[in-house]
C-alpha cells in the first residue's frame, strides 16, 4: 500500500503559460519513455525479482516514478491552464484541445494514447533489469531534449531534477543487476 503526501516531490510553480512546451512535456506523462510507463513497468516486474533487495529497489523506484508522473501532470496543467482556445490555435496546439480540451490525458506529444505495449514484464530478472537500464537512459535523453527546448527557469529546474533522478535510477538498476548476477551466479537456469 501507499501513503500519500499532499505535495510534489520537487516544487513546481510555473507563472508563464506555454502551451507548446506543455505539449512537448506531455510525452513524459503518457509517452513511450514517460513516467506512467516507468512506474507500471517496475511495479509489475518487482514480483519476479529473486531477492528482497532487488524487489525493494523496483518497488521504491516504481513508487518514485508515480511521484514523477504527478510532477509532469502538474507541469502540463500549469503550462496549459486558462490559455484561450484561439491562442492554442495560433500556437498549433489546437488538435489536442479539440480532443481533450485543456485536460491532462496520458498520451505522447502527438496525442498517441498510452499503451502497456511500451513496457515488458518477464519472469527473467536479468531481462527485466536490462530493459530498465535502457528505459532510464531513454528517459534521461528525453529530458535532455526537453531542457534544450525550454527557456523558462520555472520549467527547466524541475526538468533538470527529473533528468538527474533518471541518472540515479540507472545506477540503482545497475546495482540490482549486479546483485542478481552475484547471488545467482553459481546456479545455472538452463
Amino acid at each position: 500500500m501507499w501513503l500519500y503526501e499532499k505535495k510534489t516531490q520537487y516544487p513546481i510553480n510555473i507563472k508563464k503559460p506555454d502551451p507548446r512546451m506543455a505539449m512537448n512535456i506531455l510525452t513524459q506523462y503518457g509517452g513511450p519513455n514517460g513516467e506512467l510507463a516507468a512506474s507500471l513497468r517496475y511495479l509489475s516486474q518487482r514480483f519476479s525479482m529473486p531477492t528482497k533487495e532487488t524487489k525493494a529497489i523496483l518497488n521504491d523506484i516504481g513508487t518514485e516514478e508515480l511521484a514523477h508522473l504527478e510532477m509532469i501532470g502538474t507541469m502540463v496543467h500549469q503550462l496549459m491552464d486558462k490559455v484561450p482556445p484561439k491562442e492554442l490555435e495560433r500556437l498549433h496546439v489546437d488538435t489536442l484541445y479539440a480532443v481533450h480540451g485543456r485536460a491532462v490525458y496520458p498520451s505522447d506529444s502527438n496525442g498517441v494514447p498510452f499503451t502497456a505495449a511500451y513496457i515488458e514484464s518477464m519472469e527473467d530478472p536479468i531481462a527485466n533489469l536490462n530493459e530498465n537500464l535502457a528505459a532510464e537512459q531513454k528517459a534521461r535523453a528525453t529530458y535532455e531534449y526537453l531542457i534544450r527546448m525550454a527557456d523558462d527557469p520555472d520549467v527547466i529546474d524541475p526538468l533538470r531534477f527529473l533528468r538527474e533522478r533518471e541518472v540515479v535510477h540507472y545506477q540503482r538498476f545497475g546495482e540490482a543487476l549486479r546483485i542478481v548476477q552475484e547471488v545467482m551466479g553459481s546456479k545455472k537456469f538452463y
Binding site: T51, R160, E164, V168, E175, L177, R178, I179, V183
Partner: protein, 70 residues
Amino acid sequence: MENPNLNPNLNPNVVSIYAGNNCTGEVTLIPVMPMRPELAQAYIPYQIYSRIMPAQEALKKGTVFPELVK
C-alpha cells in the same frame, strides 16, 4: 572470510549489502566491479557511499550523492 579479496575490511572496493534495515540481516558482499567478469553480461560499478550533501543542496541537484551528479 575465505577470500581476502572479498573481505570489506581488507579490500575497500567491496561493498556489504544487508537484507534488513540499518545494516541488519543477511549480508551479501559485492565487489565494485566483478572479480571474474563473464562475456555477454552487462556490469555497472557498485557505488561506494561516502559523503552526502545537505538536504537543500540535494533537492536542488536531484541526489544526495555528489559522485552521482552528472
